[in-house]
C-alpha cells in the first residue's frame, strides 16, 4: 500500500485534483479552509491511498487547521508527497515546496491550473524547474482533467519503485547553515534522529515553527532548546525566508519562457469590477442572497416539494393504510407507521427540494470564488463588531449546517475571534429549520414567503453580530485581527462539482431522516399515544399533552396558546427537523395542506412570527452542542451556549409578540 500525501497552498485546486484522482470524493470549495480535516481516498484500481491535507501557506501554522499538516509530517512519513501548486502564482507556492523538499521525502510537484498560467502569456521550462528543485515536475488542469492520466501513472507505482529524493539544500547564510548543521548532527548522534529528518527539524525549529518548537519541547531535544534565544536574537528566521525567496526568484527567472500569442482574458477583473465595487458590493451581496432564497422557496424548491408532498400524503399514505389493514396489523402499529413515520419522517423528507436548491446555491458560491469577495465586502461591518470579514464565511456555511459552520471557523487566526465565531454560529439559520419555516409561512404569510424567511435569516445574522460585539467587549479581545484574504480567479462552476458539493451537504439530511428524525418521530408518537393510563385514543390525555400543558404558562407570553408546538419544540433539540415531523404527528394530520390549515387556525401572524423567531434562536441541536464542546474544548461553553440562546430567544420572541400585539 503506497501512501501519497496531497499538500499545497489554499486555492490551488487541490481538492478538485483529489476528487479526480480518487474514488471517494471530498468536499470541494474555492475558499480557504474548505478542507477542515484530512480526507483519505483511494486511487481507482490501485493500492495507492491519497491523503488530502488542508491547504497551507507554510509549514509554520497560524490557524488550527494548518497545524494538521505539520503534525502529520512530524508523526508520519508518506511514501510520496504530491505538492499541488497554482501555476500562475508559482513564486509563493514554491515557498511551501522548498520547506517540503527539505524534508527529503520523495516529492512530485504539479503545476495545476496550467491554463491560467498560459493565459498570462508565459510558461515554465519544466526541465529547468525539475533540475533546480531536484524533483519531478508535472502540469495538470484538474478542472478539465488535463494531465491526470500521466500524474496517476506516477502515483500508482509500488513503494519500491518510487525514486528517493535527496533533500533540497539551499545556500543559507553561513551562520544559519552552521547552526543547522550543529543541531542536526547532535540530534542524530545523541537522540538517534534520522539524519534527513534531523536536518529538516533543525531548519524548522530555527525558522520559529510553533508546532516544531512544541514538538522539540515535548521530546526534550536539548540541542535545539538550548540555542533558542540565539536563533531568535540573530533573526535567523528572516534570513531563512530571504534565502528561500531569492532562490525561488532565481529559479523562476531561469525557467520562464514567453509565449508568443497571448490572449489575456481578464474575466476575473471584469466581474470583480462589479461585485467588489466599494459601494455596490454590499447590496450585491444581499441581492445574491435574496436570489438564493427566491430560488429555494418561490421558483424551484417549493413547487417541487408540493408535488412530493401530494404524492407522499396521497397515494403512498392511503396505500400503506390499506395494506396494513388488509395484512391485519394492530391499530397501534398502523397508527405508528401511517400517522407517525409516514406523516412525520415523510413530512420532513418533502423538503428535500428546498434544501438541495439552497445547498446547490451555497456550493456554486463556494466553487466560483465569490466567498472571498463576500469576506471582503463585509469586512468593514465585521470590523465594527471586532471580527473580520473572514468570520462571515463560517456563518454562511452555517446556513447549511451549524456543525460545518463551526468547523469552518478553524480558519480564523485569532483564538478569541474563533471562539466568538463558534458561539454565534448556532444563531445562523441552518437548513434543518427550513421545514418549519416553510410550514408557517405557507399558513400565515402565503404572499411573502421568501421575504419572511429572508427576514428570519437576517434576524439570525443581526443577533449573531450583536452578540459578537457583546462578547468582544466582555472578552476584551485584542483590537487587531488578522485579515488577509486571497481573491482567487473565478471559475465557471462545473456541473459535477456543484452536484458533488450539493450531495455531500445534502446527504446528511437524508441520512438524518433515517436515523435521528426517525427516532424523534417515534419518540413523539409514543409521547402522544401513551398517557398515565397507558395507550390512549384521545391525544389530549397523552404524555405529550400533559407536558405541553405544564409548560404552557411559560410559553403564553410569547404567543403560544396550544400545547402541541411546545412538545414539538422539546423534541426539536434532537434535530431541528424533528419540530416539523412532531407537528405532523401531534396535530394528527397526514399531509402538509391539512397541517397548514391547522396552523393557520391556532396562530395569528404575530404569534407565528414570534414562534419562528424562538425556533430560530433557541437551544442548538445535539450535534451542534457536541461540536461546540469539542471545538472549544470545554463543556462549559457548550452549556453556556444552551442557556444563553434560550434566554435570547425567549426575550426576543416575548418582545415581538407583546409589542406586536399592542400595535395590531
Amino acid at each position: 500500500m503506497t501512501t501519497v500525501a496531497l499538500l499545497g497552498n489554499p486555492n490551488t485546486g487541490k481538492t478538485t485534483l483529489f476528487n479526480e484522482l480518487t474514488d471517494k470524493y471530498a468536499y470541494v470549495g474555492n475558499w480557504t479552509g474548505v478542507t477542515v480535516e484530512k480526507k483519505v481516498g483511494q486511487i481507482r484500481h490501485s493500492h495507492t491511498k491519497v491523503i488530502d491535507l488542508p491547504g497551507v501557506y507554510s509549514l509554520n501554522p497560524i490557524t488550527k487547521d494548518e497545524s494538521v499538516v505539520t503534525n502529520y509530517l512530524l508523526g508520519h512519513s508518506p511514501d510520496l508527497i504530491l505538492n499541488v501548486t497554482n501555476a500562475s502564482q508559482l513564486k509563493r507556492n514554491l515557498l511551501l515546496s522548498v520547506e517540503v523538499l527539505e524534508l527529503g521525502v520523495p516529492v512530485i510537484i504539479t503545476l495545476n491550473m496550467i491554463d491560467d498560467l498560459k493565459r498570462t502569456g508565459h510558461y515554465y521550462n519544466l526541465k529547468t524547474l525539475s533540475t533546480e528543485l531536484g524533483c519531478p515536475v508535472r502540469t495538470t488542469n484538474a478542472r478539465n482533467k488535463e494531465g491526470l492520466t500521466e500524474l496517476k501513472a506516477d502515483l500508482v507505482r509500488d513503494q519500491s519503485e518510487i525514486k528517493p529524493n535527496l533533500p533540497l539544500k539551499l545556500n543559507y547564510p553561513l551562520m544559519v547553515n552552521q547552526a543547522i548543521r550543529q543541531a542536526a548532527t547532535s540530534l542524530t548522534k545523541d537522540y538517534k534522529v534520522e539524519p534527513k529528518f534531523a536536518h529538516w527539524l533543525a531548519i524548522q525549529y530555527i525558522n520559529n515553527n510553533k508546532v516544531v518548537r512544541k514538538y522539540a519541547t515535548m521530546h526534550q531535544l536539548k540541542p535545539l532548546l538550548s540555542q533558542k534565544a540565539y536563533y531568535d536574537a540573530q533573526k535567523f528566521d528572516d534570513q531563512i525566508f530571504e534565502t528561500r525567496l531569492s532562490f525561488i526568484e532565481k529559479t523562476l527567472a531561469s525557467a520562464t519562457e514567453q509565449l508568443k500569442s497571448t490572449q489575456h482574458v481578464a474575466i476575473t477583473s471584469k466581474i470583480d469590477k462589479v461585485v467588489t465595487h466599494p459601494i455596490f458590493g454590499l447590496p450585491i451581496f444581499v441581492g445574491i442572497f435574496y436570489l438564493m432564497f427566491k430560488l429555494s422557496f418561490d421558483w424551484i424548491g417549493t413547487p417541487l416539494s408540493g408535488y412530493l408532498d401530494g404524492f407522499l400524503s396521497g397515494p403512498i399514505s392511503s396505500w400503506a393504510n390499506q395494506f396494513l389493514t388488509q395484512a391485519g396489523a394492530l391499530p397501534m402499529l398502523r397508527s405508528l407507521i401511517v400517522n407517525g413515520l409516514i406523516a412525520g419522517v415523510g413530512g420532513v423528507l418533502v423538503f428535500i427540494p428546498q434544501i438541495f436548491v439552497l445547498f446547490a446555491c451555497i456550493t456554486i458560491l463556494e466553487d466560483s470564488g465569490y466567498m472571498s469577495r463576500a469576506a471582503l465586502v463585509t469586512d468593514r461591518i465585521m470590523e465594527m463588531i471586532g471580527l473580520n470579514g473572514k468570520a462571515f464565511i463560517p456563518l454562511i456555511i452555517g446556513f447549511g449546517c451549524n456543525v460545518t459552520g463551526i468547523m469552518a471557523a478553524r480558519t480564523i487566526e485569532q483564538p478569541k475571534e474563533r471562539l466568538i465565531t463558534t458561539l454565534i454560529s448556532p444563531f445562523m439559520s441552518c437548513s434543518a429549520r427550513l421545514p418549519i419555516y416553510s410550514l408557517f409561512v405557507a399558513a400565515l404569510f402565503p404572499r411573502h414567503q421568501a421575504l419572511i424567511v429572508l427576514s428570519l435569516y437576517f434576524l439570525g445574522i443581526v443577533v449573531a453580530l450583536f452578540m459578537a460585539k457583546f462578547y468582544h467587549v466582555i472578552f476584551k479581545a485584542k483590537e487587531h485581527s488578522v485579515f488577509i484574504v486571497e481573491l482567487p480567479q473565478y471559475h465557471i462552476p462545473r456541473l459535477d462539482i456543484v452536484w458533488h458539493g450539493t450531495w455531500d451537504k445534502g446527504k446528511g439530511f437524508i441520512k438524518k431522516a433515517g436515523t435521528i428524525i426517525f427516532a424523534g418521530t417515534v419518540l413523539i408518537w409514543l409521547l402522544s399515544n401513551f398517557g398515565v393510563h397507558g395507550y390512549v385514543t384521545q391525544i389530549d390525555q397523552s404524555f405529550a399533552a400533559n407536558l405541553g400543558q405544564i409548560l404552557l404558562p411559560v410559553f403564553k407570553p410569547i404567543g403560544i396558546s396550544t400545547w402541541q408546538p411546545i412538545s414539538a419544540l422539546l423534541t426539536g433539540v434532537l434535530a431541528k427537523e424533528v419540530i416539523s415531523s412532531s407537528m405532523m404527528v401531534l396535530f394528527h394530520t397526514s399531509n402538509q395542506t391539512a397541517l397548514i390549515a391547522m396552523i393557520g387556525g391556532s396562530f395569528t401572524a404575530i404569534s407565528a412570527y414570534a414562534l419562528l423567531v424562538f425556533i430560530l434562536l433557541y437551544i442548538p441541536c445535539f450535534a451542534t452542542i457536541g461540536t461546540i464542546k469539542s471545538e472549544t474544548g470545554s463543556a462549559k461553553w457548550a452549556a453556556y451556549s444552551v442557556i444563553s440562546s434560550l434566554a435570547i430567544s425567549y426575550t426576543l420572541a416575548f418582545l415581538i409578540f407583546q409589542i406586536g400585539s399592542l400595535l395590531m
Partner: protein
C-alpha cells in the same frame, strides 16, 4: 398478520429509535470527528493523544 409479528415490528421500530437517540447523545459528547465514519490519520492521532492523556 399474527400478534407476534405485530409486536416484533413494533419492537424493531422502537429499538432502532432508542438506539439512534442513544447514539446521537453519545456522539454529541464527542463532537464532529466522531460523527465521521472514516478512521483518518487525524482521528487516529486524536484518539492516541486521548489515550495518552488518560
Amino acid at each position: 398478520m399474527g400478534l407476534f409479528v405485530n409486536i416484533l415490528i413494533l419492537a424493531v421500530i422502537f429499538g432502532f429509535a432508542g438506539y439512534q437517540i442513544y447514539r446521537a447523545v453519545k456522539r454529541s459528547k464527542q463532537g464532529k470527528c466522531a460523527a465521521c465514519d472514516y478512521d483518518c490519520e487525524a482521528k487516529k492521532m486524536l484518539n492516541q493523544s486521548k489515550k495518552r492523556a488518560m
